[in-house]
């Protein structure tokens, strides 16, 4: 787990960059180094450290609440969601896997699932579709590896290559590194010294552009 945190250091740094401006104003003296929420979760999981949890709680609970109010349009439900989500974070910190994304992403997925099941329960529809059905943890053993890569390559060879040159240079560079050189997003981010989020954004934009080149604009 520690090794994995090391591998995804960039992740943490990036979350740090994006969050820091706001934290400086609102949370004057957190004892956990900013952007180290991934490490904080690890410490919480292993040492059941209430002090560290308190820091994480102080940062995320008010943000989840704002998020929840947007989603529910209702303060009371938003608070219920925050409590349930933060309880899950405390009890299931050991399930967090930094290799799959940063802490805030993990916390968001918990909040989403909590919210979904909360709404279903309120409609007394316990019997039907649950968050568990909809958002598996993303372990797709057979497909994640070689098939996915083969499929990407196939797509490039067959369909995308002719449109590649029309991409803006910055996007094309990222696309070439990811799809032709088969580098991970992380590696591209390091090579080009750009945040991981920017790598992902450029890929998404490029893909969308390619799709439009082939398919016509989305209506």
């Amino acid at each position: 787990m520690l090794d994995r945190c090391g591998l995804t250091g960039h992740h943490a740094v990036e979350c740090f960059r994006q969050g820091s401006a706001m934290i400086d104003q609102q949370d004057p003296s957190p004892t956990v180094a900013l952007g180290q929420w991934e490490e904080a979760l690890y410490v919480i999981a292993v040492h059941r450290d209430k002090q560290i949890y308190a820091e994480l709680f102080k940062y995320f609970a008010p943000r989840l609440r704002a998020f929840g109010i947007k989603m529910f349009g209702n303060e009371q439900q938003a608070m219920e969601m925050v409590q349930d989500t933060m309880l899950n974070v405390w009890q299931k910190a050991a399930l967090f896997d930094a290799s799959r994304g940063c802490a805030s992403t993990w916390i968001f997925t918990i909040a989403r699932n909590v919210r979904f099941d909360m709404l279903r329960k309120k409609q007394s529809r316990k019997d039907d579709i649950s968050a568990d059905d909809l958002w598996s943890d993303g372990d797709y053993p057979e497909q994640e590896g070689s098939h996915s890569q083969q499929w990407d390559l196939y797509l490039i060879a067959e369909k995308i290559a002719p449109h590649f040159h029309a991409l803006p240079p910055a996007q094309r560079l990222v696309m070439e590194k990811v799809y032709l050189d088969e580098l991970s997003h992380q590696e591209v981010s390091e090579q080009l010294s750009i945040p991981l989020g920017t790598v992902k954004s450029r890929i998404r934009l490029a893909l969308d552009r390619l799709r439009e080149a082939i398919d016509g604009p989305r209506s």
Binding site: C15, Q18, G19, M22, Q26, R48, A54, F57, A61, P62, R63, R65, A66, F67, I69, M71, M79, Q83, M86, L87, Q91, L95, R100, G101, C102, S104, T105, I107, F108, N113, R115, F116, Q123, D128, I129, S130, A131, D132, D133, L134, W135, S136, D137, G138, Y140, Q143, E144, H147, S148, W151, D152, L155, K159, I160, G197, R204, I214, D215, R218, S219
Partner: protein
Amino acid sequence: MAHAVKFHPSLSLLEQYTEGTLAAELALVVAAHLDFCPHCQQLRHDIEADIGCQLAQQPAAKAVGDEWQQMMEQILAAETVQPEVSTPHAADAAAVSTYIDQGQHRIEIPRSLQRLAAKRKKWRQLGGIATAKLPSGDQNHLSLLLIEPNTEVPLHTHKGLEITLVLAGEMVDEMGKYAAGDLIINTPDHTHTPKNISNEPCLCLSVLTAPLEFKQGLIRLLNPLQRFFY
């Protein structure tokens, strides 16, 4: 190489699925598509990462008095449960069916449907076509559809959208040929006659949306016959 899924949900549909704002039945069809489609799985992870960072950037909401303190104390005081490594539907492993039996056919189904498939209603047979309802809300109807080899689905009309995901086998219509993982979206003004011209049964998951929802502009969100990359 493995069959590559050709017909995908639109990006906006994937976004709403990932956010958790899509109607449950539609979200289930997207989830089942993801079980077949590594590409859309990746997009889902990208969208999750994006929203995660948005959450971290979110300005904090103020709470009244010592609300936060109380909440945190309650959480820390709660009995600690030992986290289990999550296995699919660990809670009710018994109530899961990994395949569908219909007549002489036994067909494997993706994990997102395995719990619900165990709760399906009885098969109703009409000619070479069988349907079984799955639990769903009042607004959208969710069912399994099994089309026997060499069978044509009779021309049918409905007021909502019809969303079909091929789970096994293949079928064709005027627009093309669909195989496992392909997502087909039909609007009311879109008549088509799907056929199974293969020698294997074709199993589909189908959602019919209520007309109301369609009028409210669901169509804007679901690009009909979205086929990005192809």
